[in-house]
Homo-oligomer: 335 residues x 2
Amino acid sequence: MATVAAAARAAQSAAAEAHNKPRGPGVRTAAVIGAGTIGLGWTALFASAGLTVRVNSRRADAEAHVRRAFELYAGSLPGGPADPEALFARLEFEPDVARAVEGADVVQENAPENLALKQELFATIGAAAPSHALLLSSTSTLLPDDLGARMTDPGRLLVAHPFNPPHIVPLVEIVTGRRTGPRVVEEAMAFYRGLGKTPVVLRRAVPGFVANRLQSALLRESIHLVREGVVSVAELDEIVISSIGGRWAAVGPFRAFHLGGGPGGLRHWFEHLGAGLEKSWEGLGNPPVDEETVATILSQAEEAFGNRAYEELAAERDAKQTRVIGAVSGPKAEA
Amino acid sequence: MATVAAAARAAQSAAAEAHNKPRGPGVRTAAVIGAGTIGLGWTALFASAGLTVRVNSRRADAEAHVRRAFELYAGSLPGGPADPEALFARLEFEPDVARAVEGADVVQENAPENLALKQELFATIGAAAPSHALLLSSTSTLLPDDLGARMTDPGRLLVAHPFNPPHIVPLVEIVTGRRTGPRVVEEAMAFYRGLGKTPVVLRRAVPGFVANRLQSALLRESIHLVREGVVSVAELDEIVISSIGGRWAAVGPFRAFHLGGGPGGLRHWFEHLGAGLEKSWEGLGNPPVDEETVATILSQAEEAFGNRAYEELAAERDAKQTRVIGAVSGPKAEA
C-alpha cells in the first residue's frame, strides 16, 4: 500500500512539474476519441487548423464515415471552404485508445454520456498519453472530478464542452475539477483560442453548465406556448429568428437589457421593470412533456420541415450560422 | 339610446364596408403617435420607405429630438445607410393628435403603457382618421379589445408590437381583438412585409405576447446563474453570443433541436431526452429580484460596459445586428 501511495505521489509530483513547464513548440497532434457528431466536428476543425488528428473509433467503416462527414463539413469551416481530401490526408485512424493517444499533445474525448465508460477511458488515456498532454472531455453532463476518479493525475483533465456543431459554434465551456491546475486551464484556453473558439471558464460547476440551461429555459416556454395554441412550431421559430436570435447573436442578454434601459442603462431598466420581473416569471409556463404535448409538437414540426432531408437542413443551418458568426466577429469595415 | 345604438350600427356597417374595399393605391402617409425610442424607430423606418410621416409629439423640442435620433439611426436602416436630412424632409410635425391622423393611411401609436391614456388616444384617432386607415398600437402589454373600448369601430385596431429598435429588428407581433376583421390583418401584414418586416399573427393573446416571454424565461435563468456565482454578467453575455445567439439567429429553437436529433430529427431527440426535460426544468433557477441580486448585477454590468457611452454601445449593437440580419436573410449566393 505504501508503495502504491508513494508511486502515486511521485506521479503527481511529476505531473505537477509537467503542468508548470511551458508547452514548448505547441500542439501538433490531437487524438479524437469517438467519431459521433461531436467527434467528427472536432476532427474537421483540428484538421483544418493543420493538426495531425488521430481518430479513435471502433466503427468498421470509420474511414468512410469520416470521409462522408468531411464532404458535408468542408464548406462551413471557420477559415472558409476547404478541400475535404486535403483535410482527410491529416488523419490517422487508430481503433485502440492507448495507441491513439500515444504522443498526442491534446486528447478530446467524445464517448457516449456514460460515467463508467468515460472513467475507464480516462484511466487508459491518462496512462498512455504524454505527461504534457491536455486531456479534454466534450461531456455535457459529467464533471471532471468524476471523470478522473480512476486516473493517477486527474489534474490535467478538464471538461471542454462544445456546442453542436463544434467546428462552427464558437463556444467551449471549460469546467475545472478540484485538482485542476491553473496552468492546465491557461493551456486549454490558449489551445481553443488558437483554433478561433471562444472558451469560457465556469466559476463553478452546475448541472447542464450554462448554455444548455439557458436553452432549456427557453425551450420550456416555447413548448408551453405551442401547447397553449398561441403559436405553431414554425411561427415560434420565425419569431425567435426575427427578434431575440439576432439580438443575442449581436449582444448578450444583459447588454441588451442595459441598452433597453436607454441612457439610464440597466439601473434604469431594473428600477422600471425589476419589480414586475418576479411577477412575470410566475406567469411563465411549466408544461408537462406528455404524449399529447410531444405529438402536437412532432406533427407541427413535420409540417414545418418534415419534407426536407436532414443533410440539406443541416447544411443550410451551418451556412447561415457561419455567416452570422462572421457578421459579428468579422472585420467591421464592410461597406 | 335607440339613436345611439342605430348610429353605432351604421358606423359599424360603414366600417365593415371599408374593411372590404381594396386598399387602392397603397399607403402614402403614416402618422406616428409619440416620439420615444419606439416612435423614433418607426419614424425612421417609414421615412426610409418613402412614406410621408406625421410625427405627433408634445415635446417642445420634437424637431431637434428627431433630428438627433436620425443622425444615429440613418447608418443602420434596412435599405443601407441613408442621408438623415433626406429622411427628415419627409416628416411633418403635428402636436395635435386629431390633426396628425387626418388623411393618414396608417397610424402607429407609441404612447406610454397606460390603458386610460391609450383608450382616449384611440377614441380620438378612430374619430379623426380616414375610415380605411390601419390603426396600430406598439403596446407590449395591452390588448386590442381593451385599447379600443372607447372606439366606434374597434375592428380596425390591431396590436403591432415591434422589438427595439423597430427600424432594425424584423419581428412585429400582430395581436387581434374579438372584432378585428380578417382583411385588416391581411392589410397590416402586407404593410409590414412591404417595409421588410417579419409580421407574425398570434393565434391567441397571452400576457407579454411571445418574444418577451421567451426573453424573460432566459433572463430568469441568466440572473440565477450570475446570482449563484457560476458566471459573471460579461461571461454570460459572451456565452450567449458565442452559442445559442448565433444558433437562434440562423434557425429557431425547434429546428435547432430537430437537427440536434440527427437524421432521426425531433422524434429521436424527444425519445432520448424528452423524459429528462421535466426533470432538468425542475433544476432551473427562480431567483428573487431583491436588492442584493440587483446590486450584484449592476456592479458586474458597470464593470463590463459601464465605461462606454450609451450612444456608442447602441450604435455598435445596431451595426452588428444589422449585419446579422443581412447574413441570414440576404442573398444566399455570396462566395
